[in-house]
């Protein structure tokens, strides 16, 4: 068998005794291919991430990890329910956030798990003004012989995740999970996965923190207050939703925005009008009473 050119060139680097031993060469080649770093196909770059300007939300694929995935013509309600809810929420986010953000659909981008969002990746995303990344997954298990699809939705709030990894801030990853029996009706799961308000809150918080980083104090305060207000509203509507840690962090950040604005001699804006009382809790008007 004639060796391909690449292997012929490499052969020059290998001792002659080994080069002449074909089984070794074949084994080495196979071994190289097996253990070479895999292409980052699951975290492939998203179209538009480099070219679109402004704050961005990345919507990744919803994947499934099931042993016996339904065939193409068999209904797969778990996947369809999740897709319906996610896409409806994304549309609501787009409609109600106006031009504040760009939503990029990232086909083929499939985070394996949360650990891929390490410091290196987070810094890359942060540099490209990505504020939120969303993906979903359906995994299968069996309960008392009945097939159950567990649906997961994950949000990574990039600026908060960055703070978590660099200075021990609150967690920047949020999870929704729900076991869906294929026989049950869609209503409950569709209600649970109605995350439109949470998405708006996360986006506003991300935009707020990013604005703060570049001393855009007015925009930072406005968006942090929107985020705080939306989260506080959701705690009254959803008893199981507990973003206390995140709300406290946002309050703290809002106070820091005011402190920095007041101390910045180049800042001449309206934050200077706030009284000390208001400066201690600037987003108080945004909270549900």
């Amino acid at each position: 068998m004639k060796m391909p050119m690449i292997f012929t060139r490499l052969a020059g680097l290998i001792p002659k005794a080994v080069r002449n031993h074909k089984p070794v060469i074949i084994l080495a080649t196979v071994g190289f291919l097996c253990f070479a770093p895999s292409l980052p196909a699951q975290m492939r770059d998203c179209e538009g991430i480099r070219t679109e300007r402004g704050n961005k939300v990345l919507l990744d694929d919803i994947t499934y990890a099931a042993i016996d995935r339904p065939s193409a013509d068999e209904p797969f309600p778990s996947m369809e329910r999740l897709e319906y809810k996610l896409h409806s929420n994304i549309e609501q986010l787009r409609v109600e956030s106006g031009t504040m953000i760009k939503i990029l659909r990232c086909s083929g981008r499939r985070p394996q798990n949360e650990n891929v969002f390490d410091r290196s990746l987070i810094e890359q995303l942060d540099n490209k003004d990505v504020v939120l990344e969303i993906w979903g997954k359906i995994a299968q298990s069996k309960e008392h012989g009945v097939r159950v699809h567990n649906a997961f939705l994950r949000y990574v709030l990039i600026p908060i995740r960055y703070s978590e990894l660099t200075s021990g801030g609150p967690s920047g990853i949020y999870r929704i999970e729900y076991p869906m029996k294929t026989t049950e009706k869609a209503d409950e799961v569709l209600n649970l996965f109605d995350q439109a308000v949470e998405m708006k809150a996360y986006v506003a918080i991300g935009v707020g923190i990013n604005s703060f980083k570049v001393q855009k104090y007015d925009l930072a305060l406005k968006n942090l207050c929107i985020g705080q207000g939306l989260l506080s509203q959701q705690t009254t509507r959803r008893p199981d939703f507990d973003p206390k840690g995140l709300i406290e962090y946002i309050r703290d950040q809002a106070v820091k925005v005011i402190q920095k604005a007041r101390n910045d001699s180049s800042y001449k804006g309206a934050i200077k009008l706030l009284s000390d009382q208001l400066a201690a809790n600037p987003c108080i008007a945004a909270e549900v009473k």
Partner: protein, 459 residues
Amino acid sequence: MWWTKYKTTMKIHYSPIIRLRAVCLAALFSIYIALTLPAEAGAPNVPCKRPFIFSDAMVNAVVLPYTYAGSSGKPLSQTAKKLSLLIQVDTLFSALKYGSIGAVRLVDESGDRKCEANAVLKELQKQVKPGHGLVLLWGRIYEEKKDIYVQSYAHFLRGNVKEELELLIGNNRFIASLPTQAFAFAPRKLTVEDLNSIQSQFERSAIVHEKPDESSPGTPIPVDPDFPFSFWVVDVKDEWMRIKHMERHGPDGWIYAGPRIGGWPLSQKLPELSFVDALIGYLQARGTRDQENRKRYLQFTEWMQEALLRYQKASEGAEAPLATAIGKELNAVVRFLKPDRSIEDIIISQRLFKEAVRLIPYSADAHNLEIISRIAFAYQQITPPPPSPKIIAHDLVGAVALDPQNLQILSNLANFYSLLISKPLQEADPNEVLERPELELRLKAVKDIIVTQASSQAP
């Protein structure tokens, strides 16, 4: 263009009143165009990539095709297509009572997903005349066995007009904008049985009668994606229109175009259709400006308020806070702008603005609207408790915190300080009064910031 030819025909053959109502019925023409013309007929469809509105109509309501919500591009079933059509027809028939209306249903004829709301809105905004209104409605559908899940979205606007409330108190202007003109409605669920029942009810209500009398014999207007229906308006009598079917086979006669108690049947299951009715009423009302139109303004606002009440009742337990808040604000605004508005109108408006703030407390604009209505209320010197200038000023500064770049709020703050200087509130509790030196200091600080903000925001 085919529609230009239609308008020319209208000018030759019909009186202005009939022309006005005929614009409405041109909507039905658009349904015909959208649904039925085979390619060999040679006439154009109304595709999303070439959307149009009836430019003479005071308000246009445009419904995009409701699409499957998932990412797999699955086409809608016949049931879902029927729902999409019923939504459009319900919108049209609810709007008939307002008179100068255009209603258009767009289709995604090429299947290349050109019916994105953003793209369509961008095109339509170029066509809307100054002061004329546009309501765009679209949505997502998901079907599972016999259940249909729907979520709708709306965007409304007037050509070259900002949606704001302006009040003159003394010599001071106070201005506040609506928080948004685009929002989502709460998701809804219908069953196939619901849909069939609604279609039957509609067919019983949308009847073409032999005479302008509901007791006279009639034929229902069919609701079928495969059945074209298009009409010419040939006569108008009170709240009845006489129509002539454009096809060889179809009902001719009189249809009732007035308001219906309880609205049309689909709006019970999809309350957002009542909201769209209210949006049309709001835009029509804002379009009538002078005293000659006083009667029409009052009629439009009455219909708008009835529609909002129907929305509220049908939405109980499943509200969308942002949409509901906007509804309350629109209601409050039209009351404030009523010719010969009463003290009761101001009190009700203020209550509605407060309720809106409770729903969307994070919105600086919602706070701004509520506060300027409170200032107007304070200067009416109506009833106890006495207004507190300190609290009003404090709340305005609180609104500034929610949006420090908002020039309207800053101007309102400055104007409030000016007003207190020139015309102190007589009934105020002395402990709640701001003294003149303090007012002048604060006024100067705010004015300096306004100058800086205005120059940094200048194009």
